[in-house]
Amino acid sequence: MSTPILSILNLTVDLPKGGDRPFAVQDLSLTIAPKEIVCIVGESGSGKSITSFTTMGLLPKALTPSTGEVVFDGKDLLKVGADEHAKMRGSQMAMVFQEPMSALNPCYTVGDQIEEMFQEHTSLPKAERKARTMTLLEEVHLPEPARIYSSYPHQLSGGQRQRIVIAMALALDPKLLIADEPTTALDLSTQAQILHLFKELREKHDAGIMFVTHDFDVVAEIADRVVVMQHGQIVEEGTAEEVLNRPRHPYTRLLIDAVPRRTRDQRDLGDGEAMLKVEGLNKTYHIPGSMFKKARDVHACKDINFKVRPGETLGIVGESGSGKSTLVKCLIRLEDPDDGSVWVEGKNIAGYSRKGLHPYRKMIQIVFQDPYGSLNPRRTIGDQLVEGPVNFGANRADAMEKARELMRIVRLDPDALNRYPNQFSGGQRQRICIARALMVEPKVLIADEAVSALDVSVQKEVLKLLNEIRDRMGLTVLFITHDLRVAAQVCDNLIVMQKGEIVERGTVDQVFGAPSHAYTRMLLDAQPGKGWEVPDVSKLPPVTV
């Protein structure tokens, strides 16, 4: 192996006093060689981002590295001055961030923002700067570089913006590239393209790549070596092949075991009457034009038909813009469908006026994606739970009693009802949201990307809980997700949506095993880490460390 471009030795980063642990990162050592992709894996709070920020010199002021060294190209970055470190940033080490939507300055064209790299670090003339920028735009495979060059960030999609950030990072051919969850916010097919781009970079440039992620499929797709972190420490490291297939540390095993499998046993649901039946649902958004732009219609839902039996979980899969969210909004009547009917237990809830709908609103309840944003931070959990039933005429004491029972069902302490949302973790909040949805005894529960924001181990728990509750209460569940693994794990039947239409439907095995539509095949093909089978952790030799 060639000399590493980055070697971190016994790095410790202190957390401010009064935190839940004294160190953000403790006694961490790792190396990255040129042309090598090292994945740092861990759940939220494991210290993986802190490690990358320390290297870049972008730590928040509250955090300070106390001991250790970060040797980059022969220099200890913890000892160089702030100005010198700033000069190295961009020119010798560069970074790609998680959130492409907000990573670019909205006030300047993306061309200007890439050119700024040359302006800051080189003395190239203007024409040459522009020429190089154009070459970069081509290298990251952006269509029509000339048009993109003079576009503002808000005119580009998330995937395109991420390519701009990558182009910016590559501008001066840095020796080290740090990518912090660069594909987490992207659609499956965009993610596949960006990951491909990273693999291409490894071949074309000599950079060592530090790739921070929480997704083992992504690791399987691109990693040469893997470092697993927990509570600020490295618990395991090795080649990708070793760590993915023969993990040695209990925590790594736990994480890998929590990765949803792509197959599951088929359940026998019998031939019950449909609990939820959607017929011919259409929704069109009208975007008014102006003097120079034609008005246009966006057909967000085209003739949607499906039915779900009691106790069944129907997965709705699709990328952003596929119409999933509009469908959900129409089902719970946050939007009014243009035509079509939504039958729940023999009542067409699409037919009622807003006012007439009120008594039936409780039949369909929803759990949203963001557990942090969907609870009011200034009201106690108890207040928020009883609000639904009280609104439908229940008395408060009875509702409180029910809330206590539901807290037990979602495995939280009933005495926690008088606490506020900020006292709970993301996974706990999502359970509270599930409890809140169940308070009014719905017939249909919609989980809209309900586990997407959670760490894998927490995700596993919540999915298990959802299945248990479904079986216990005979709920009908609509599970909206972009994650095919999760869909395969929890759903009985699937529908695949693209551009407002259902393009494929069937059991999980039918849809994933023998897809008939090109879009479904494309989605399946875009999944990272297809060559990796999640090992059966229980059959691995006992832990040796």
Binding site: S102, N105, P106, Y152, H154
Partner: protein, 305 residues
């Protein structure tokens, strides 16, 4: 961008037209204008004669259109009190007010923006505290009191600047400071809050990751985003300064438009009042339009109508 400007300009003209109609109707809301001119004890014939002379007996819309046509041509009628053409009267006074207003808003911006940026760069530092103190004082001291103190110190005791009048630029120094200082706190605090928010944005982190220097990050990347609400605020402040500088104009005996407004109100000089309302609001609309265009230039996302 051109489309955006034309659209805004069209909107501004519509607003100006509405305001002109409202300011015209003021004349009649205040009671019978003929009675106002002739006095309480005038005879029926006098009132009829006045009605005929000023054309008050014609239908209102006709009077309005007539007035509007004249106003567009620069003829705003005769002042009832000064017995001068209103246009002439106002042009003279307005130049004083404009000079004062423009220099005061410049003073306020030049003082407030750097202070806000410096305060945001190091929240809770000494410089932040000092900026806060300056802005609290500015908010708390009434302008007439502050003006008098400045006159006592700089004109009477030190003899550095004249205490009243509008002959030279030196006469404008104290009024500018008093009027500008009054607008400083809001602009300063808004700049500070905006900068603090923007500095935690992802794209500032990107700018740091690019290896840019602190000055470039603060001014090129952060300030441009943070300044947008400040531009809108400054336009509103400028409007206030034109119409509401009566106190400052009185203290420093600057006979400006604000002072004229006060005079014409107390003397029931309707044509002058009408004209002042029209002119103040036109300026107000103009500055808002300017702020919109400036903001659209700063932030491309605002350019789509």
């Amino acid at each position: 961008m051109l489309m955006f400007i034309l659209k805004r300009l069209g909107l501004a003209l519509l607003v100006a037209l509405t305001v002109s109609a409202i300011s015209f109707s003021l004349l009649f809301l205040a009671g019978d204008p003929a009675v106002a001119i002739a006095g309480e004890n005038a005879s029926q014939q006098d009132i009829a004669a006045i009605n005929e002379r000023f054309g008050f007996d014609r239908p209102l819309p006709i009077q309005y259109l007539d007035w509007l046509r004249n106003a567009v041509q620069g003829d705003l009628g005769m002042s009832w009190y000064f017995d001068l053409p209103v246009t002439e009267l106002i042009a003279d006074r307005l130049s004083v007010t404009m000079r004062l207003g423009l220099s005061a808003i410049t003073f306020a911006l030049v003082l407030a923006i750097p202070m806000g940026v410096a305060a945001a760069a190091r929240p809770n530092s000494l410089i932040d505290r000092a900026a806060l103190l300056i802005s609290v004082v500015g908010q708390a001291i009434p302008s007439f009191w502050f003006g008098l103190i400045l006159v006592v110190i700089f004109s009477i005791n030190l003899g550095l600047v004249p205490a009243s009048g509008n002959e030279t630029w030196r006469h404008f120094i104290l009024p500018t400071v008093v009027l500008g200082y009054y607008a400083t706190p809001a602009i300063m605090r808004l700049t500070r809050a905006g900068m603090i928010e923007v500095l935690s944005a992802d794209y500032i982190r990107t700018a740091r990751a690019k290896g840019l220097g602190t000055r470039k990050i603060m001014f090129k990347h952060a300030l441009r985003n943070a300044i947008i609400p400040v531009v809108s605020l400054a336009a509103v402040q400028m409007g206030f300064m034109l119409g509401g500088s009566i106190v400052v104009e009185s203290i420093f005996a600057l006979h400006g438009a604000g002072y004229l407004a006060w005079e014409s109100i107390s003397r029931n000089d309707l044509p002058t009042m009408q004209a002042l309302i029209l002119i103040f609001s036109t300026f107000y609309i103009f500055f808002t339009f300017l702020a919109d265009v400036l903001n659209a230039w700063l932030d491309p996302r605002l350019r789509v109508s």
